[in-house]
Symmetry: C2
Subunit: 170 residues, 2 copies
DNA sequence: CGGCAATTGTTGTCGTCAACAACAATCTTT
DNA sequence: AAAGATTGTTGTTGACGACAACAATTGCCG
């Protein structure tokens, strides 16, 4: 739907112009505003894309009220039962302080449980509850649907290439 | 004074061989924790990449104390002098409420100025100051250096392909 | 023309998220 | 046993997005 097609190449933006004292400048239509140097910055494109992708994820999983970070936490715990909070935080690049609240929330929803480790009484071993496992299965189906939205947006081909390019960051 | 010195240390390509002694279940080394379904999710890869890219941007432009959003605002104003706040906000996908603070900050640093529009007394025409223009030139050089870091990280080829894939989001 | 709706900038609130600091309980090292 | 490191926790700060309310101003429509 986003018919923004900015191929128009506006040339009015290449040299700095100063209208000394002249406050009211020319009139710009909404989509003829040049981005200048921003085009060609990977960070800008990635950020916009990331916002889009997260919004779609949140919307697609709105029924089950699961956000991307919660999903990632449950996925990792599901694949590696018994991990400590430290290990999960490190693996996902989350602050361990932040993980505390994430787990508080998931635990209060009976999706995850903290079990006191016997070998290290400081740490907790993280597990999915039975209901957490079945819930995760559903989340994964919805996440797959979200992933199809991504395909529709950028193309199957491009999505796969993207995953290859960014494989090192996972 | 937002001197946050990000050393977030997402150890992505490096494997720091640390023991995570969780006792309850199996023993996991830090980098042998599976991500399961997370691999194959574009959103996860994009998010990690975006975090990396922003941290590098912030670090590379730390000397001039310019963050990605500030850079994008100045770039757009520099390329389209006289834009209203509404127009800039819409173009960059920023809340206009948020842009107020961004401009307050940039204006107090004499990089940007708000000039009362004569044709619409509600709106401000945004311009770079003279010092803002020279500053932006420097920012762009540093941003280009940052972009080279991205190339080193994912490869020149891949960076260009990425920009092509995500061109629709700019 | 006059009144009403829409727009613009602004202020403020709320919630998410990353970075840090401090702390008690508990290992680990020496 | 003492010193130092690690784990989970609490709390603070700051960047950021989403909203809501508001005054000033503009545009529209009858």
């Amino acid at each position: 739907m986003s018919e923004r097609t900015n191929q128009g190449e506006i040339d009015i933006a290449t040299s700095p112009r100063k209208r000394t004292g002249n406050g009211a400048a020319r009139h710009h239509d909404a989509d003829e505003i040049g981005l200048d140097a921003l085009v060609g910055h990977a960070g800008y494109a990635v950020r916009r894309f990331q916002i889009w992708i997260f919004q779609d994820f949140i919307k697609t999983l709105a029924d089950v009220d699961i956000r991307p970070t919660q999903y990632s936490v449950m996925t990792v715990i599901g694949a590696n039962p018994g991990l400590s909070q430290m290990a999960v935080a490190k693996r996902l690049g989350i602050e361990r302080a932040r993980l505390v609240h994430l787990l508080d929330s998931l635990e209060s929803r009976r999706l995850v449980k903290r079990i006191k480790s016997k070998t290290d009484r400081r740490s907790h071993a993280l597990h999915l509850t039975a209901q957490g496992e079945t819930a995760l299965a559903k989340f994964k189906r919805l996440a797959a649907e979200h992933e199809r939205h991504v395909e529709e947006k950028i193309g199957k081909e491009n999505r796969e290439h993207l995953l290859r390019i960014l494989a090192g960051f996972t």
